[in-house]
Amino acid sequence: MSPPLIKMRAITKRFGGVTALSQVDLDAHAGEVLAIVGDNGAGKSTLIKVLTGVYQPTEGQLFLDGSEVAFASHADAIEKGIDAVYQTLALADHLDPAANMFLGNELTRKVMGMTLLDNKRMRAETERVLMERLGVQLKSLDAPTESLSGGQRQAVAIARAVYHEGLRVLVMDEPTAALGPQETARTLKLIKTLKAQGLAVILISHSLDDVFDVSDRIHVQRRGKCVGVVETKNSNTQEVLGMIVGAEEAA
């Protein structure tokens, strides 16, 4: 196997006296889906927030493609090719999909020396990215995002992340939590598409069904520590569940 794209080594994160993460290692490869599972408070969210530059680790190192990196901010991480799609999706619901996709990064044109938004080009680009990269066609590109279904809104959020040419790692935080069965199936298909395009996808999920459907490896967190990484095809729900609740240690 090729060397990991992302290497996190002995990451510790403390908030005052509370240790949220303690000596966590994590590897993620290009073209694979790594699932992170664990109970509430196991440190999943903190771990990916460290990875995406939202938090800075108290101790530990982060390697991207073999060289050590430190992210000053989330924007810094995005620039280096690591982005996240959050459960809340971070969409401005009153804006249309194109406006959301380019939010903070608008395409412009000059008209008589004034910089104006190029809505037409943003709309065309959005349609293209959704179609070519994600194979998604929206019900309407002109209606506000709030009128779209949960799955389509998510597609917009993902499109925003993958539009950045340098994107190499995509973190997805509970992408299927708010979706119905049909939409969940579509989202899982989308994750496989992204994986096939060579992205490293890191998936956080409570649904072991989803995890076993799409992931290659499963990283299990418990009480701020990594209690094991298993190959999905050599494991089963029982084993992973046991690791999540700590049954094996108790036995």
Partner: protein
């Protein structure tokens, strides 16, 4: 299945335009009512000119306030900003011999600076917009009183009166041209610039805007600067219109402008901007007030009518947006629910109250004391 969704979209397609349809329906109601009650006096050309002249004054402020409210803000200091910058302009012209062509831009710049102060108080010192601008309203009004004392400054150069009440022969008054121009400018600003785009994003989802790298605080300040400049422009127009200004001028600007914007469908909860709606809202309020005057209803009832219109519009829009969030299949379907029935009854009650008040006002004012 797609066929089924397409047949029911007649109503759904209308929904985005409700913002404009709302005030348009009310405008139509006024037209019909006045057409029956007082057609001769209400539809006179001079009266229509009066309505437009009154509406023009509020257009720049309504445009700017649309941005502020869309960002989940509010500006309660525009009346004082208008008065203070107009008074400073008046002093510059009358006492220091400034050319009117210099004094007017200075007044608008002063308004922008006062708006900047508002913006910085809200973003830097984290004072809630409601309290911050309300307090600054007192400060600006205080300065205006300190400067002008009880004086009425009057008789200004022609350029100023042209701005305030000039008429393009055979066409509309000059202030109407200015007002509509600011409205069109606002529309383009909203649709075609970073500022407009980020205004909606900030109001819609501040956390998302911050996360995607939008400079939230900076764009909030821009909105208040725009609001201040627009208020100063209105102050200049008011001075020209009356050919006089005093420290207590423009007391009703705040609520009137906010009412126009909210009636126009811009959401007080942010994210939903309706520039065309604000234009209609301004027109609606001016038409309503003019109708009350035409009906010889006492001046004080105007305040009652404005208040009732605001409350009922906000209640209606809030309810409609709640339905949006619930995803209960559009507001038409939602009318059928028990809660919808309750809201309908509430609206009917409000409208009934308004009509009753108008009737009482009309009777008392008409018979006892024809104040006009």
């Amino acid at each position: 299945m797609s066929d089924a969704t397409y047949t029911k979209t007649t109503v759904e397609r209308l929904e985005p335009y409700i913002a404009i349809i709302g005030p348009l329906v009310m405008i139509l109601a006024i037209l019909i009512f006045m057409g029956i009650a007082e057609p001769a006096r209400y539809f006179r050309l001079t009266n229509i000119n009066l309505i437009l002249l009154d509406a023009a004054l509020y257009m720049p402020m309504a445009m700017a306030m649309t941005f502020v409210i869309t960002q989940r803000g509010i500006d309660l200091s525009i009346g004082s900003i208008a008065a203070l910058s107009a008074i400073i302009m008046a002093f510059l012209i009358k006492q220091y011999g400034f050319s009117v062509y210099v004094a007017v831009p200075i007044a608008i710049m002063i308004g922008a600076v006062l708006g900047l102060i508002n913006g910085l108080i809200i973003t830097r010192f984290n004072v809630p917009d409601l309290i911050g601008t309300l307090a600054m309203d007192l400060v600006y009004r205080g300065f205006a009183l300190v400067l002008a004392k009880g004086l009425v400054l009057a008789r200004f150069p022609d350029f100023l009166t042209e701005i305030g009440r000039g008429q393009i022969p055979g066409f509309v008054p000059i202030p109407v041209v200015i007002g509509i121009a600011t409205m069109i400018g606002g529309f383009l600003l909203l649709r075609r610039t970073y500022f407009g785009r980020y205004t909606i994003a900030i109001g819609s989802n501040p956390e998302a805007a911050e996360l995607t790298g939008v400079a939230v605080a900076r764009h909030k300040v821009y909105a208040y600067v725009l609001c201040g400049a627009a208020a100063a422009l209105a102050g200049v127009m008011l001075t020209g219109k009356l050919n006089a200004i005093q420290a207590t001028s423009a007391p009703y600007f705040n609520l009137h402008v906010i009412a126009a914007v909210v009636v126009g469908g811009t959401s007080l909860f942010g994210g939903r901007a309706a520039m065309l709606g604000s234009f209609c809202g301004v027109l609606l309020l001016s038409m309503m007030i003019n109708a009350l005057v035409t009906l010889r209803i006492e001046f004080f009832w105007q305040s009652v009518a404005s208040g009732v219109v605001i409350v009922s519009s906000v209640a209606l829009y809030t309810w409609m947006q709640k339905k949006d969030r619930d995803g209960a299949g559009g507001w038409m379907a939602a009318l059928a629910t028990p809660e919808g029935q309750k809201t309908l009854r509430f609206c009917a009650l409000l409208i009934g109250l308004l009509i009753a008040l108008l009737a009482i006002g009309g009777l008392t004012a008409g018979s006892a004391n024809p104040s006009g």
